[in-house]
Symmetry: C2
Subunit: 351 residues, 2 copies
Amino acid sequence: MVTIADVARHAGVAASTVSYVLSGKRSISSDTRERVQRSVRALGYRPNASARALASQRSNVLALVIPLRTGMHVPVMMQFAAAVVTTARRYDHDVLLLTADEGPEGLQRVAQSSLVDALVVMDVELDDERVPVLRELPMPSVLIGYPADSEGLTCIDLDFVAAGARCVDHLADLGHRSMALLGTPSAVYERQTGFAQRTLTGFAEAAGQRGVVGVETPCEHTFAAVLGTVERLLHDHPDLTGLVVQNEPIIGPLLDVLRRLGRRVPEDMSLVAICADDVAERQVPQLSSVTIPAERIGALAVESLITKLSGAEAPELTLLPPEFTARGSSGRADDSDTTTGQGERTVDRRA
Amino acid sequence: MVTIADVARHAGVAASTVSYVLSGKRSISSDTRERVQRSVRALGYRPNASARALASQRSNVLALVIPLRTGMHVPVMMQFAAAVVTTARRYDHDVLLLTADEGPEGLQRVAQSSLVDALVVMDVELDDERVPVLRELPMPSVLIGYPADSEGLTCIDLDFVAAGARCVDHLADLGHRSMALLGTPSAVYERQTGFAQRTLTGFAEAAGQRGVVGVETPCEHTFAAVLGTVERLLHDHPDLTGLVVQNEPIIGPLLDVLRRLGRRVPEDMSLVAICADDVAERQVPQLSSVTIPAERIGALAVESLITKLSGAEAPELTLLPPEFTARGSSGRADDSDTTTGQGERTVDRRA
DNA sequence: GTGAAAGCGCTAACAA
DNA sequence: TTGTTAGCGCTTTCAC
């Protein structure tokens, strides 16, 4: 293994000089700098990560705590993770992968052993047992999603309340008077997952404000569940003409079910989803949707951590305003063969 | 921060004694051991990871290199990753997440800086530029999938050749004489990805051996692509009665397309998939399938690395025999209202 | 069965 | 602008 001493000897300088050339933390004459850089390349030197971490009290590693539970939407998780890793690398950091089932103890383990410098925690519940632990930890963290009390934390999330409301508004603007929210599996609500609850809140509030009927129901991921749920909805609410879906895996089956039941989209039933853009665009017809900005949230999370690691402050709660795109799946309630969709995107200014 | 010196002082012993109590690398009188353990708990001591890594030349971290490219099947990746992390934790290791787009340089970076002790590399191509790098690296690695030349490596994979053949055999056993392989998007084949190529090989060979017609086609992930591909297949091969699918995201759309085209499954068209069990079971009808044992492969990969880290040898190439489960989606070619499926599972003994 | 002490390879005062 | 040196917190030899 090539050490900094080898490089120093090869370049005829002190080890500290090599260190300073590499870190740029003090000015070096261009002559020595070049000699050192040549030696580094000639010997193929790579600083030893542990030695560096031990001496500098910084591992340059971020922890990413990812859920692997039931009901979570996998592709979105991957997008998050990819964005976190990519952004971390841009700031010269690596990412240690933890699963949520290590629990609060896992956070303490990697933090207190100085394995990582900071943490990104995904899928935060309203009353999350990891939150008090994070508050006490001697290092910065960022939550994706946010608990009931976000004081003293740094949280980033899509504004799901506004997203739910945005969907209602879109449908109400098109003249729909009766609509339903097809949500995540009930297990997700029972875990008190923030995003599911908040969408529901936004949906219900907006329905009240707009004076339209808004019913809500969870839905499991099986075809049978989708069929059963939709049949029940249509039976209980025969005048239902609008559907808001926050449950990515059932989107395909849902379109299929509607077809089977003889409801055309958008002529007989308007559909709005809260999902990734590529999923919305892959359907037939393409879905009007509020996008889930996984990449932006992941990148923002890492950037907040880097900010905090540099000693600066980061905002307590960052809610991204929902971006709505009208596509072919939603149309006027009273006009059974017109669609809205030209793909224009709007940003909710209320957030 | 609590250091080993603090613990030593608190327990009235030398630092080395604390170290030995923790590692169990030499015998300690039960008296001192208990006193030390009490002090560890009382002070909430956690060994510093970098110091330990520096002194012991072992970081206890494994690198996991995961692809985030187009055409890759996301849920399976997550299952792999989850299994790798969970298994690594069982052996007291952590997992550093790298994306494949860091390339060979990324492997060198984490290996030569001693950030990690070993690597798991996923989604290996037949002629993968990372393979020569891995061969030179001063630490063990395991590949998921395998290149054309696996000499001197440790590779683990499902036996996709046997899997492709198994699907053909199942359909041929049911009397089907003309079948098609609906594969991954063409980009995956163009990247010379091993699993796609090998399934194709197994499919073609078995079709030849069984004397049945076997045609192959890639298929993109859009609904339109599925519809177009199936229409073309049916047009070019009007007697087609069997379909083998190796492309998880199109499974839902495919069932839908067949329904639209008036082909009942399994009465008019038998379907066999190569996919995760839960995906197969979620469909209507449930799909006969060869499972992708992501969890087992992930766990095996980590265990091989742990073995190699302990200085022992690991086999060059481990191919898991395909496990086939007959479900409701496949039936006799000549008997348009019988299905095979009682869920019995068979293991291909040829592998 | 236990302790003392020498590093592991690097960073960052402190000196010059 | 550069060099000297004292750690960072742990493991592991060596000595008893």
